[in-house]
């Protein structure tokens, strides 16, 4: 029996070494399509994460998904004299908001935090966003915690690869995919897109079930803000009516969010046209961003 466990331990070490070497070999030899569980280049978040390190004493710090970094045009806020930063990231769920807060809340020292809440992402596992964070930021114990919480092989592989890469090679050598030609990064983390328009599509009706564990993490995020005595506002950014109306329990989500803090649902507060103000079913085009941001500043900030 002793020999059995000894051999098992030795084998585990060999497997770990082989696995790590394999990650680098596969990453160099094969395209993303041929190694579906090893994602080493994802997102454009590193530019944003480099910039946030230089920020301090902000007036407003935004968190949330692509609705945040494509919906809150930092230029509009800077014009009005606010010091702002948009820390939204692809498909950000409360899990990743929590990690980002741990890393950047103290250094940015914001007066107000805006958390963009999208019901579809409260029910999301957050794999995409975790990989985005792991690949585009330096990894610490929080990243390891993400791996343990997600229990997803893609997150684990990205974490192993990125940690070893950072350990063995340059720590800032982040081989991130460049933004598409139609996208433009702006100071403060906002990403604009060349003007295009949404074409109508039909969505099946659905009722969303919000998992307890994500809501618990969400509560923890809010608790951190309370402890730091930072004001926060929860905002649901507009999506197309086609998609919004297909979610049958919007009212429930609104009431749930209202129990957590000051909350604005801009699907109900601003009149937008699906075909004029969006480029896909849940992202505003620049026309939509302009209308939304004006309303947001008038309603939320001026108040």
């Amino acid at each position: 029996m002793k020999k059995f466990f000894e051999d098992l331990l030795k084998l585990t070490v060999i497997v770990f070494l082989f696995y790590c070497i394999g990650l680098f070999v596969f990453n160099s030899l094969f395209s993303q399509r041929s190694r579906p569980n090893l994602i080493t280049k994802l997102g454009h978040n590193n530019v944003r994460l480099q910039e946030v390190k230089q920020c301090n004493d902000l007036d407003i710090l935004f968190f949330g998904s692509s609705h945040a970094y494509r919906g809150f045009d930092t230029r509009k806020f800077i014009e009005k004299g606010y010091r702002v930063f948009n820390l939204g990231s692809s498909a950000q769920t409360p899990l990743q908001t929590d990690v980002l807060m741990d890393r950047y809340l103290n250094s940015t020292n914001p007066k107000l935090v805006i958390i963009e809440v999208y019901p579809m992402l409260i029910i999301d596992e957050g794999v995409e966003s975790s990989i985005d964070l792991i690949n585009n930021d330096l990894n610490d114990f929080n990243s390891f915690e993400l791996v343990l919480k997600q229990k997803n092989i893609k997150v684990l592989n990205s974490f192993l690869y990125r940690s070893l890469h950072d350990l063995l090679f340059s720590k800032i050598d982040l081989d991130t995919l460049p933004l598409g030609k139609e996208y433009h990064y702006h100071e403060g983390g906002y990403i604009s897109r060349d003007l295009s328009y949404y074409k109508y599509e039909r969505f099946d009706n659905e009722t969303l079930n919000f998992p307890e564990d994500q809501l618990k993490v969400f509560d923890r995020v809010l608790e951190k803000l309370n402890q730091s005595e930072i004001n926060y506002i929860l905002v649901q950014a507009p999506i197309t009516n086609a998609k919004y109306n297909s979610i049958l329990n919007n009212a429930y989500f609104d009431s749930l969010m209202q129990t957590k803090g000051k909350y604005y649902n801009f699907n109900e507060l601003v009149k937008l046209d699906d075909s004029l103000h969006f480029y896909d079913y849940h992202h505003l085009n620049q026309n939509g961003v302009d209308v939304f941001n004006k309303k947001f500043i008038d309603l939320v900030l001026n108040e």
Binding site: V15, Y19, R33, R35, L38, N157
Partner: protein, 481 residues
């Protein structure tokens, strides 16, 4: 609890440690721990079905004991029929009730009568077809006096619910497995290592081969109207490897896990896609079920003895029942029928035992290659019926295969995606081919590779699992049966 889940990754080492370190003192503890572990394992899905398996266990245990004291043939027959009635009754209710009801309603409608009975919302208990057949084999063997009935209730409960093979086999015979519960198991290093090796191979088959093939098989079968003949053939080929990797992978994990606890289960697959005719295929595919039907149905019916009519009838019966065992759907029955049609000519011309041994040479002759390809083609064609949603879907799928696009390349949208899976299939078949003379493909590693190379090979398999496994746990196909 799935073998390919994180739950099982905790459960197995925990039970292993408890078994060898704490329950190792005597046989009773070992068996009791197996019963507890098995009930936890089964109850993980739905604890309510534990009552069902417990009921089935108690009934057959009591009938077995009664049979041991009952000498009168009539009474013994009554006891046997009672066991069959209870076991097949439960199976029939949970698995076939709605099927028969729907077909009765359709039949009545056909004759102009309307029948208004609502079907029931019945959840099929996982593995019911497997453990039902296992307990039935016990009662039948006791009735036939091939087996002494057990008086050890814990051993019998452990035999019925033994967690490695409880939900998808191999369907064990009481004559093989039950006596193993009477003897205290001792830890044997070589056996445990072989068990781990077989588990690893089973996981590779399931998580890499089956699950990746399933992606494309599902894509093609679910949208079969959109694809050309060549793509539909590809879909059927992917399904053939999905079902093989899935089911034989499960069997390997089950057998490997049993070895870790000192048990030896029967072999369930023996490289069926290298068969040279359908008879050989059926000696190599789902062996525990085929032999069950052979011993408890085919031979009692007369087997291959008697008139040609009897022989043909018996073959049809066994294949139709086998199809029906898989599920309450006409597609499975048609699949069974098709296999009977493949088999009958071989039997009538006494060719059904031409290929009893594996191909000995590592380089098969051209004739052997042709035979293997033809047999594989027939099997794949039958799988279309097994996989299709219904008979109409299967027929339209088969017709569409033979359209004018049969010899064209599948569309680029499919081709660009499948190369990694095709590469994995080539690697998998090569390993299977060179390991075909052993119980499982990588069993021979012990003899052909030194330890360092062997360990690198294991590491490679684990790496490939990490690279190509699906991110969501996928259940095994045979759980639904």
């Amino acid at each position: 609890m799935l073998f390919n889940s994180l739950d099982f990754a905790w459960f197995l080492p925990l039970v292993f440690i408890l078994y060898w370190f704490f329950a190792n003192k005597n046989l009773k503890y070992q068996n009791f721990l197996i019963v507890v572990a098995s009930y936890v394992f089964y109850g993980w899905w739905d604890w309510r079905f534990l009552f069902l398996i417990a009921f089935s266990t108690i009934v057959d245990y009591l009938i077995g004991r009664k049979l041991s004291t009952e000498g009168r043939l009539n009474k013994r027959k009554v006891l046997l029929y009672l066991s069959i009635l209870v076991n097949l009754g439960l199976l029939g209710f949970f698995k076939y009730y709605n099927f028969f009801l729907d077909n009765f309603i359709t039949a009545f409608k056909f004759f102009g009568k309307s029948l208004s009975i609502n079907s029931l919302n019945i959840i099929l208990p996982v593995g019911i077809s497997f453990y039902t057949f296992q307990t039935l084999s016990y009662t039948i063997d006791v009735y036939k006096r091939k087996l002494t009935p057990t008086h050890n209730f814990i051993a019998f409960t452990a035999f019925v619910s033994f967690f490695p093979q409880l939900v998808a086999g191999p369907i064990e015979r009481a004559t093989n497995l039950l006596p193993q519960f009477y003897k205290k198991r001792e830890f044997v290093y070589e056996k445990a290592v072989e068990g781990l090796r077989q588990i690893l191979w089973g996981l590779f088959k399931k998580m890499v081969i089956a699950d990746n093939c399933a992606v494309y098989a599902n894509m093609i079968f679910n949208n079969s109207d959109d694809y050309s003949g060549s793509t539909l053939v590809l879909g059927a080929v992917f399904f053939s490897f999905q079902i093989y990797g899935d089911f034989s992978g499960y069997s390997d994990i089950a057998i490997g896990t049993s070895k870790l606890f000192g048990f030896r289960l029967i072999k369930n697959f023996s490289f069926p896609y290298f068969s040279r005719d359908i008879a050989e295929f059926w000696r190599r595919w789902h062996i525990s079920l085929s032999t069950w039907f052979r011993d408890y149905l085919y031979i009692p019916l007369g087997g291959s003895k008697g008139s040609i009519y009897n022989k043909i009838r018996n073959v049809f019966i066994i294949f139709l029942v086998s199809g029906f065992w898989h599920g309450a759907n006409w597609t499975f029955i048609f699949w069974g029928l098709l296999n009977a049609l493949y088999f009958i000519p071989l039997m009538l011309f006494n060719k059904n035992r031409n290929h009893v041994e594996s191909i000995s040479s590592n380089v098969p002759s051209i004739l052997e290659c042709i035979k293997i390809l033809i047999t594989y083609g027939l099997v794949v064609f039958a799988w279309v019926f097994f996989r299709a949603e219904n008979i109409q879907h299967a027929i339209s799928y088969c017709i569409a295969i033979f359209d004018y696009n049969l010899f064209s390349l599948p569309p680029y949208s499919i081709r660009k995606l499948i190369y990694p899976t095709l590469f994995l299939l080539v690697l998998f078949n090569a390993i299977e081919w060179f390991g075909r003379k052993k119980d499982f493909a990588i069993a021979q590693l012990e003899t052909v590779m030194g330890r360092p190379l062997r360990w690198v090979f294991y590491a490679m398999l684990i790496f490939l699992i990490g690279m190509y496994m699906q991110t969501e746990e996928t259940p095994f196909i045979y759980f639904q049966f």
